[in-house]
């Protein structure tokens, strides 16, 4: 589904990504973790072309992301993404947020888009808030709406860029629950997150990044029971002690 091959990216002399290679199969759930500045958010943004990269290749469902001939908008319409800061559109109501890309990008009818949006809103447990504006919802609620907004596009896979790190601790679980449910339904997911409990529960593989390189790319059980690199061991020791 997603193939990342030898991807490198730099700003001037500063290397953000160095020779990253991995793949995500259909139905697989991958968790990407690592210390801040390790390049994990950059990597996931390369997958739908929000960040350009200088060398290597990323193929999503047969389409090359780096190819200048690729219609990126068309590709992104099929790849769902959830952001750290939710990025709901504050000037639109919740229902408008859910419908806007469906009508303007997928050219669905208003009623169809509205139906679909409300159905997904119900699924994330927020049907009662349909007519509110993003600013009137809590962070956790906003992030659930953002997930519903991405799902409304019927994505072939979902990218999560630190979806819970801007949330107050008591709201983290409501978002993780929605993500867990999605994973169990067989959605292909690539998640940048520090939530190791979530990784243990639902991930198939865990990728550990450090200084722009993929240091570990293991089956979940291998990663948690005996990570090969020292950096990953240190990272796990720090993060699991909390």
């Amino acid at each position: 589904m997603i193939k990342i091959a030898n991807v490198s990216k730099h700003y001037g002399d500063f290397k953000v990504l160095t020779d990253c290679t991995t793949r995500v199969s259909k139905g697989e759930v991958i968790v990407v973790c690592g210390p801040s500045g390790s390049g994990k958010s950059t990597l996931i943004k390369c997958v739908n072309g929000l960040e350009p990269f200088q060398s290597g290749e990323i193929i999503v469902d047969g389409t090359s992301v780096g190819d200048p001939k690729t219609n990126l908008s068309k590709l992104r319409a099929r790849v769902g993404m959830v952001f750290q800061n939710f990025e709901l559109f504050p000037h639109m109501s919740i229902t408008e947020n859910l419908a806007i890309a469906q009508t303007k990008v997928l050219k669905r009818g208003k009623d169809e888009a509205m139906d679909k949006g409300l159905k997904l809103l119900d699924r994330v447990g927020l049907k009662a808030h349909a007519h509110k504006f993003p600013g009137q919802l809590s962070g956790g609620q906003q992030q659930r709406v953002a997930i519903a907004r991405a799902l409304a596009m019927d994505p072939i896979c979902m990218l999560f860029d630190e979806p819970t790190s801007a949330l107050d601790p008591e709201m983290v679980n409501e978002v993780l629950d929605v993500m867990t449910e999605l994973a169990q339904e067989g959605m292909t997911m690539m998640c940048v997150t520090h939530e190791m409990g979530f990784a243990k529960r639902v991930a198939h593989r865990v990728i550990f990044m450090d200084q722009g390189r993929i240091v570990e790319d293991d089956k979940k059980d291998v990663f948690f029971s005996n990570p090969r690199s020292e950096r990953a061991q240190q990272f796990l020791a720090k993060i699991l002690h909390h």
Partner: protein, 226 residues
């Protein structure tokens, strides 16, 4: 001590009102042209096409470096001659007034474009990313996501600029357009009551601009409660 005589004001009111109408028309058209052309300039300035961005930067910096009085004189004295010779207008066509009005609007567009550019940049980058991630094109993201938010943030500033612009219209005095101030000055000069007419004009501007700015403040509080 000076003895005030306000008696020439009542009779002059219709004439002053005509002047005020001209001030308002110039303001309205400059706001309109300023916002439309200013938006275009702001988007050019932010565009990744170098030529467009340079053109917009040059335009804005040029107009912001030169006094409005100079711009009005250019468009009142120089531009009409140029246009007349260039397009071979029949002699006697008086372009000066429309030219001065045009110059005023083009000048204000430079200021509007800076407000609009700041407004566009005030929309968090994540919003653009989110629009792209949903498959919107650059133009769709701009039109559906960025500009509506940018304009909402900008409304108080755009209105404040309109108040400044209304005050600036008095400078068309140098181009002999009979706006409100020009009318007041003429009446004062004719009746030898310049002192009263200037104070009256000042008071009228103050009442209009002060009330308008209070309205803007209220609006701001309503939409952006501190």
């Amino acid at each position: 001590m000076y003895e005030f005589d306000w008696s020439s004001i009542p009779g002059a009111l219709p004439f002053l009102w005509d002047g005020m109408k001209i001030s308002l028309v110039i303001t309205a058209q400059a706001v309109l042209v300023g916002i439309v052309w200013g938006t275009a300039l702001a988007m050019m300035r932010l565009s990744s096409v170098k030529a467009l961005s340079w053109f917009a930067a040059g335009y804005v910096n040029l107009f912001r470096a030169v006094p409005l009085v100079m711009v009005l004189l250019w468009f009142f004295l120089i531009v009409p001659r140029f246009v007349e010779t260039l397009l071979d207008f029949p002699p006697g066509t008086d372009l000066r007034l429309s030219s001065a009005m045009m110059g005023f609007a083009l000048f204000e567009a430079a200021y509007y474009s800076e407000i609009i550019r700041a407004g566009i940049q005030s929309v968090p980058k994540g919003q653009v990313a989110a629009a792209s991630a949903l498959g919107m094109t650059y133009a769709q993201g701009m039109r559906l996501v960025v500009l509506p938010q940018a304009f909402r943030n900008m409304v108080p500033l755009l209105l404040t600029q309109a108040i400044i612009l209304f005050q600036d219209t008095s400078l068309v005095y140098v181009s002999a357009l009979a706006d409100f101030f020009g009318a007041a000055y003429k009446v004062g000069d004719r009746d030898g009551r310049l002192v009263e007419m200037l104070l009256f004009a000042g008071a009228v501007y103050f009442v209009i601009c002060f009330s308008a700015s209070q309205l803007v403040k209220r609006l701001q509080k309503k939409y952006h409660p501190a």
